[in-house]
């Protein structure tokens, strides 16, 4: 048993942080989010150049062959810098689907281009009435010729607007809510009948409404087994959830550090406000939340690759409960302890608040994962 990062992991962290500290400061980020695309192709190319896009993928595709703990190192750094580029959507969702469920030709076609920064991906899953229920898929895939025709509506597709390639869940059998009958399809950006409506989220990321009106795909667009997509969806969403927990740890760390710094430098009544016990104890509780969040995110990243699906669900849901609670608690305290300044757009702390607030809602909120954890416990 040991908890140390390896030398490679430390190097990975240093390289990425060095890049983000110099090239992704608060002002640079503000310029990026103000552009029409909402992210930077230059930053994306630099991430590819550094090998960051290839961290979890097999070496035969040009990847690093890394573990989820390696990914934790990356996500923490991205979270601390509030990186808006579509890393989670491309590497954590799209790329993961291909790596886990794709055929050899699909992997060979997609992964090298993804790792090189040439293909961005997104996962089109959520539907208007589905909330966090992954079996709520009403989008239909009807056999037609040598393939299928897709028809349906997807909402809040993370980075769907910039994706070159979408993974779309659709029903080849059964009805909305059934566990069986869901299939996954690869859909290219230019496909006829595909309408993508891009929007900015509170935290300056992008989500899209995706409408599929008679979109034709071929045989080779099917990803994984026909009708058996749900277990793969659950597995990949759990993986992305573990990663977003690690990202949250980075953002929480920033909120902690910035707030502590503010308590030491902001003076009122002739003294630093950090000398007041009422504020000290609140700050200590922020530190405790940070340490606990880091621990549970570590547990999730170490265990998310287990073959035991019940254990994976249990650990990931535990992590998301704690992360959602800690994200709310720490972001609210950070704003409160910064006083009026915490409310302003000028400070990074308010942007950290926004990111943590959306992370709490993403991939299942605390209530969703409380119920899921309890269900995993009851079936254990």
């Amino acid at each position: 048993m040991n908890f140390e990062y390896s030398d490679e992991q430390r190097l990975l962290s240093e390289t990425l942080r060095k890049f983000l500290n110099t090239g992704y400061g608060f002002d640079a980020r503000a310029k990026i989010t103000a552009t029409p695309a909402g992210f930077s192709e230059d930053v994306w190319a630099a991430l590819a150049e550094m090998g960051i896009l290839g961290v979890p993928f097999d070496e035969k595709f040009g990847g690093f062959g890394g573990t989820t703990v390696d990914m934790m190192v990356v996500m923490e750094a991205l979270g601390e810098a509030l990186v808006v580029e579509p890393y989670l959507a491309t590497v954590g969702l799209g790329g993961r689907f291909v790596a886990r469920g794709g055929t050899a030709p699909q992997q060979a076609r997609i992964l090298p281009a993804l790792i090189a920064g040439k293909t961005k991906m997104a996962f089109a899953q959520t539907e208007p009435e589905a909330r966090y229920d992954l079996a709520r898929v009403a989008t239909r895939a009807t056999p037609s010729g040598d393939g299928w025709v897709l028809e349906g509506d997807k909402r809040a597709v993370l980075h769907g607007g910039c994706a070159d390639l979408l993974v779309v869940s659709a029903r080849t059998a059964g009805g909305d809510g059934d566990a069986r009958g869901i299939s996954l399809f690869l859909v290219e950006r230019g496909a006829a009948g595909l309408a993508i409506d891009d929007a900015r989220t509170l935290d300056n990321l992008r989500v899209a409404d995706v409408r599929l009106s008679g979109v034709r795909v071929g045989r080779d667009a099917l990803l994984g087994a026909e009708g058996g997509g749900l277990p793969l969806i659950e597995e990949v969403v759990d993986y992305a959830t573990a990663l977003v927990c690690a990202e949250a740890v980075g953002a929480i760390k920033y909120a902690h550090d910035a707030t502590l710094d503010y308590l030491k430098t902001r003076r009122q009544f002739g003294v630093p406000i950090g000398s007041f016990q009422a504020l000290q104890h609140r700050m200590v509780d922020v530190l405790i939340a940070y340490e606990q969040a880091r621990s549970i995110a570590t547990l999730a990243c170490v265990k998310v690759d287990t073959a035991d699906a019940a254990e994976r669900r249990r650990v990931v849901s535990a992590a998301k409960v704690k992360i959602a609670d800690a994200a709310r608690h720490v972001s609210q305290e950070a704003v409160q302890l910064h006083g009026g300044m915490g409310m302003t757009e000028e400070l990074k702390i308010s942007h950290t608040f926004r990111r943590l607030t959306t992370i709490a809602q993403a991939f299942g909120d605390a209530d969703h994962h409380l119920a899921r954890f309890a269900a995993a416990r009851a079936s254990a």
Partner: protein, 388 residues
Amino acid sequence: MDLNYSPEETAFRDEVRAWIGANLAADVRDKVLNYRELSKDDLLGWHKKLATKGWVAPGWPKEWGGTDWTVVQRYIFEEECGAAGCPPIVPFGVRMCAPVLLRFGTDAQKQRFLPRMYNGEDFWVQGYSEPGAGSDLASLKTRAVRDGDHYVVTGQKIWTTLGHYGDWIFCLVRTDPKTEKRQDGISFLLIDMTTPGITVRPIVLLDQSREVNEVFFDEVRVPAENLVHEENKGWTVAKFLLGYERMGTGNIAVSKRELARVKELAARAGLRDDPRFADRLTRVEVELMALEITNLRFLDQLRGGRPPGAEVSLLKIKGTEIQQALTELMLQTAGPLAQAFRPLEARAGFDAFTASLMPRYCNVRKATIYAGSNEIQRNIIAKATLGL
């Protein structure tokens, strides 16, 4: 990063588990698992078994009987003791006074006290708090006046845990009342509790248990050779000891056992599918899962030999909050029967275990108060870790 035990660590766990299985008496285990009072013999009996095995003081230097275990082995040992329902190793001797003697004691003091401490021949207790000196320990007033080869001690200690079992007590006393700083003028004395002039009186707690005491000193003559470290330098000793007092207060292994118990009771009470109960239980379980990793992360940092800092305060705060939450959940599983109390336990419907839940809930309120209240712990973290 690797959360799995190595083959050596697994073998060690099996060895500890087997030894506990063969050596923990069923009646003592039963008392622990059902929150019944442990006698002095129960506590010392277990201590002596561990001493014979060589496992009673893992943290001591090897020459004095330490085990030279890795931090993971120490964790495994605590885990197994907690899971099995072993009595606690009473901390006042081996975990508190001993590190002080090892750091500040003379060779003669070490030779005289450490082997007896190790073998459980004396029951040690702690004389720190006074009626006017709780969190503000430095305001203590118990006087020790030098008279030839002796100190004459007069005053009062309070909240002395298991003081009624005590053979020896280590005390902070004031040897110089005229110093400018209150922290100066304090000394650390070892006192034989059979010395004339000592009276121990019980304090009945809100669960009606006898656990803590008042200890009165009326011109008690203590040989000067029982002074540890220099006269008037006791505050240095006290600060050193506080770090050790807080260590191991995360109580994670015991909380894991209690959590399993809550689940069992909830299933029996038909609460398994109650969403309100399930949510409360899950939040506690998740917090405990995280704390276990936090504890391991801190232990890992100590692997390099760094002494524990304010991290232990964090473990104390979270660990005790979880302990208290678990006692509350247990009460909830008993519903209206949770009103039962010891005198009623023989009556129909009030089995002995159910009747122990309310007193236990009451008793564990102490956890966020003792060993430095959780507010004091927050002060320590604010100062030592955050630099506020």
